[in-house]
Symmetry: C2
Subunit: 454 residues, 2 copies
């Protein structure tokens, strides 16, 4: 692909477009899409539209589906509405919905004007499903069979309709009212005798999801059962669509990226790649949390300011403040991250809160003692401070570690309980809280142990 | 499932095992496995083995494959070698390899003793592929066809052999020496006429991977092309196995979890769930990085100690130290996380280092100025400190933010260049470095601006 891209760049420069087309079609659809994206980024929309228009009609729809939504919008702006519509007709239904969701409203309206009433109604219905619902992910391109069909008839039906469907490997058996009665795999049909009846081969204990179910629940089901596709039904158990594994892989990737970002205090509402996001948007994504965290750090500062007298009388204490705050942040981060990830994989549930806290308590006690002993020794032997200073720091460390690990375990679970995304309770939040608490613990302990009054 | 589990708990207590069996078999294989896991955790291996032995032979193999490796080892220790072997025979080849990898060596030897020489050789070969190579993921259960076959013959072949294979939806066309010549989907076979030849229907521009390729590369291919399965070939382009999408979904999940853990300074070499890991193991996973970080925090402390005279003369400066260190950590974390995630998704490559740093520089300059202005105002107006203090803090913040974002962008890429996992260059590492640097910048700046000599 890389090589092909270079050649195409050169050929475009030399304006040898017939050769460009030849070279372009040497690649498969996913790679053609990547080449067009590169051309769009490097040479502008005008050139990428020229390339796109070179593609045969059937290929262009597949390539279009592979493009990023940004590039799709660029291409659409450069071609006629008629051309857009041709692409739409070739695309699978769920890809078409994805595209329509991203396009500007006036373009969508113009496309819908030209489609027949039935399709228009269906498209409007799909565009109205909540953004992360099963309904928004599903496609209507599936194979529907009848109970009374023989294997022979079913295979004949698939032979005729199979090429237009998202998948033919799982087929759905419905009654006259579209109630889902069973599912049967193409594998079962192919290995069975031609006179057998679909109703004797289908599974009736299938798993289905509701149109309004959240995509995260759907993803969990795919991971648990290794499905190729999952049927989506409405309230009356009527089949309205199917979700295929490739769409779910995209969902899992997006949800994971969102977790990573939120855990770092970045609020990105797009699913663009890092390099495609403008500097201004990057700043908007990052500033809100930083400001919030700044307020918390100001409070920590204010606490310290209240102890200025103590600190000026025992300036040696200042040198150990980063140790305490840092250790609190680091130990709390470990716990919070493991709990957040465990919850998003469904390994840890809210009812496990007792187990989690008891586990973190024992872990933190041991780690706290280890770190306290190391620091006690180091402060006495290497720093040559008094035993009172060493004692103050070590006891503070022990308390801070236990506190940080408990809060790191508890906060994500509390967030989930309150329907807030647990990923928000990661490093920045945890370390802000532990910063504050560790400073308070340290300075109060210092006042007590070192016998200095405020 | 939850309901079923409760009933089974009660029935076991009442020793009504015939009813337990009945209730158990009401569930599908994945759920039966989950029930047995719960019983194993709550009531011990003895009870879970009893339940497992209740299962019909064909179901027990599938259930066994769904169990966690811990539970598999528990079950194996409670049943006879003959029983283990029966399960192995029913399992798909790649699941069997997965199980054998986890079992104690003496059990594996006893199982291998009873298998025929050919299988034993194959198993040994598979057990020897590097842990995260394509070879370790693949299965040998696939449909192989010949070029000259008619569609009719191919479908007949699949009808006979289809049930024993991992997938029948992608079929592989080979010559006499097992060289891979093309692939053809079952969909294509089903929609084609029975007299057509496989060689006219197969794709020859297929994508394959080598046995020694890393699983992360394989996962990228699956994500890019939405494959159901991918052929694995050896150096001579002979087909040695296939990898299916469900195995890749597991790989992606494991790799992502590893990223999350490493980014929090947790070094977990198992793929067990949080609640299944012992307290001792949790401690071992977490202590090494904490100790390393403690050393770095000690150095930060030592730097501060060198400035004790300055600090005792201007104690107000101490209260702003958490602000500087915290802001450095938070801003650096944002950048590092985005870069690490971008690289693991293949969105950011090493050649983009210039673009990344330039982007981060512009972002950090704006964010730095915003935070500097906010803090300057707050220090002057609310804290009522001198302008010299406000100036020292604000200029330090600007420098620290720019430095933190650049190092947060650079370090993960440098790690990748040096073949170190970029995930290690996340929060703990970044905040340790920014802590140190921000203290140095702050205190040197204070010395300069406030005109106090050391």
């Amino acid at each position: 692909m890389e090589r092909s891209l270079e050649i195409i760049f050169e050929l475009i420069e030399e304006k040898k477009y017939a050769l460009v087309r030849e070279e372009l079609l040497e690649n498969n659809e996913a790679d053609i899409a990547e080449i067009i994206e590169e051309i769009n980024d490097e040479l502008g929309t005008e050139k990428s539209v020229i390339l796109f228009r070179m593609l045969p009609k059937d290929i262009s729809a597949v390539v279009f589906a592979y493009l990023s939504s940004d590039c799709q919008v660029d291409i659409v702006s450069g071609i006629t509405v008629k051309e857009v519509q041709n692409i739409m007709e070739e695309m699978s239904f769920d890809d078409m919905i994805d595209v329509l969701e991203e396009l500007p409203a006036n373009v969508v309206d113009r496309i819908l004007m030209r489609t027949d009433k039935e399709t228009r109604k269906l498209i409007n219905q799909f565009l109205n499903y909540p953004e992360s619902s099963a309904g928004s992910l599903m496609t209507i391109d599936y194979i529907g069979l009848k109970k009374e069909m023989k294997v022979r008839d079913a295979l004949q039906y698939i032979k005729i309709h199979g090429m237009d469907q998202e998948t033919v490997y799982t087929c759905y058996v419905m009654d006259g009212e579209r109630h889902l009665q069973g599912i049967v795999s193409l594998r079962t049909l192919v290995v069975s005798e031609s006179y057998e009846l679909v109703k004797d081969l289908m599974h009736e204990d299938f798993i289905s999801v509701n149109v309004m179910d959240d995509q995260e629940e759907v993803a969990q089901l795919f991971k648990k059962y290794d499905f190729l596709a999952l049927p989506v039904v409405d309230k009356e158990n009527r089949l309205v669509g199917i979700i295929t594994f490739d769409d779910i892989m995209d969902v899992i990737e997006e949800e994971t990226t969102e977790d990573f970002e939120r855990m770092a205090g970045v609020m990105d509402d797009s699913d663009k790649e890092y390099l495609d996001i403008s500097v201004m948007k990057h700043i908007k994504n990052r500033v809100p949390w930083l400001c919030l965290l700044t307020v918390s750090l100001m409070i920590t500062g204010a606490i310290i300011a209240r102890f200025e007298l103590l600190l000026s009388q025992a300036i040696a204490l200042v040198a150990y403040m980063p140790l305490l705050m840092g250790t609190g942040g680091n130990t709390g981060t470990q716990s919070a991250t493991l709990i957040i990830r465990g919850m998003s994989l469904g390994e840890i549930e809210l009812k496990d809160v007792g187990k989690v806290l008891w586990k973190e308590f024992r872990i933190s006690a041991v780690i706290g003692i280890v770190l306290a002993v190391i620091n006690f020794g180091k402060i006495m032997l290497i720093d040559g401070e008094t035993m009172l200073v060493a004692l103050t720091v070590s006891i503070s460390i022990l308390i801070v570690v236990v506190f940080a690990k408990l809060i790191g375990g508890l906060l994500p679970m509390a967030a989930k309980k309150m329907k807030i995304d647990p990923a928000l309770m990661a490093t920045p939040m945890i370390s802000s809280i532990t910063d504050m608490v560790s400073v308070v613990i340290y300075l109060i302990l210092a006042t007590m142990i070192m016998g200095i009054t405020l």
